[in-house]
Symmetry: C2
Subunit: 244 residues, 2 copies
DNA sequence: CGGCCGCTTGACTATTATCAAAGATGGTGG
DNA sequence: CCACCATCTTTGATAATAGTCAAGCGGCCG
């Protein structure tokens, strides 16, 4: 299975790369304050009326939707430098601090004033939602058409690419979230996630210092797995390699 | 597994029910024309720059994303009365006519003029994208946390609810799309979809005249399945019922 | 009438979930 | 400072759901 990457730029390709989100924030958040959220605390929950938007200064945020019996889907994560809360006037999902987070806040009033006065900012907010939608379509593909190994490889490559973007090492990846967050993000169980990590180690794709620190030993192969190009060398062979 | 339905209204709950989309269209599409699209023709494909938006007069449209090897995900369907193409300036997915469709068109220029001049229309377009995002989060839940029976029940209830909304019988459901479209929408294979239909028949949940005409015999039970409430009476018992 | 396409059904396989339990790790209190 | 407890992760054994491969049926259109 092969994923065409070209289209991934579609929603934003025809527009100039948005100015630094943090700059927007600094420009318009005159009234805003700062907030610290402890690990595993919720920043907002599904159904809450939006009162503020946030810029993440440090920490990682996890977005999820829950069912009564504890089942949940993690729709994504947000990292330092990201602005969160742009979606809609009523939150469609929970936002939970994976680690202790420092957030800069902007009131909705300030946000609305900003979008009214600054066309670039308004467009940024709109594009953000479109990009989110695109991302969720891609995630649908990952969840319905990929094996456990491909999903985990995809996840690791996501983290690696983000590292690259912000100037960190693309091969030594910190995993701030717990296994359950990864599992709920990838539509797997924690056991399968754990086993797949073990398979990757056994196959020489990664090395692990501890559950939160992964070194990508064979990034090319991981990338191939992640995009489904790794024909008939997919989860099967990796699993067999472990059995042998 | 139980789905909380309350939040489903969240994104639009705090705003008045939007005026009839068709009315917006009639008001602003002065320049627009009409177009007829044959079954299984594409209206646009992923990556296309958006040139028009459309109001569906008749027919059903299927949105999908494709992989090179033919794998695809159907992210949703659109029906008569729906406006399509509001997402972003570059299409993030294919739009394909499931049946022969009649579409009314509005040029992008007219659309942009309309959103600039008519605040209600602009808000309608924005809300549409937010609702789409919400829908896709829900779909993630269906695809990752539900069994084949639950997924198909969910799909049938979606069609039934739409029938109700537009004044058709909620218990006799026409299925305009092919099995492959359903399968790709639900993250299953056509065989599993077909088998699950058979199971539903055997369990007395539905009756079928032909593959395109389904009667909901036990809508309550289907609704329970669809929302995951049908505890330990889920796919297992239905499958067992067939085996017996 | 025949061929094609879509749907259904069957047999078998494989991937992942489930159930269960044993290491780690980290924080707290004695 | 160490022991204990809670939580998270890993590993193992087993089972179940859905996928794959294969074949037959039926309708529709040329």
């Amino acid at each position: 299975m092969q994923i065409i990457e070209a289209h991934q730029h579609s929603a934003i390709a025809f527009r100039p790369r948005p100015t630094d989100p943090a700059a927007f924030f600094a420009k318009h958040a005159s009234q805003g304050g700062c907030r610290k959220v402890a690990a595993h605390q919720f920043i907002w929950i599904e159904g809450d009326v939006r009162r503020e938007i946030f810029l993440i200064r440090s920490g990682v945020v996890c977005f999820s939707r829950m069912l009564m019996d504890g089942r949940r889907v993690v729709t994504g994560f947000a990292y330092p430098g990201d602005i969160i809360g742009l979606g809609s006037a009523v939150h469609a999902r929970n936002a939970e601090a994976v680690q202790c987070c420092k957030l800069e806040t902007m009131t909705i009033a300030a946000f609305q004033r900003a979008t009214g006065m600054d066309a670039a900012f308004a467009r940024f907010a709109q594009d953000h939602v479109s990009a989110e939608l695109l991302h969720s379509y891609e995630h649908l593909m990952v969840l319905t058409k990929m094996t456990a190994s491909e999903r985990l490889a995809h996840f690791l490559m996501d983290l690696s690419k983000r590292n690259l973007r912000v100037g960190h090492s693309p091969t030594s990846v910190l995993i701030p979230m717990r296994r359950i967050d990864i599992a709920d993000h990838l539509g797997l169980t924690i056991e399968t996630v754990s086993r797949t990590f073990t398979c990757f180690k056994a196959a020489g794709l990664i090395a692990m210092e501890d559950p939160a620190v992964v070194y990508l030993i064979d990034p090319a192969r991981l990338a191939a797995l992640a995009s489904g190009v790794d024909e008939e060398e997919g989860s099967v062979s990796i699993r067999r390699k472990l059995a042998a």
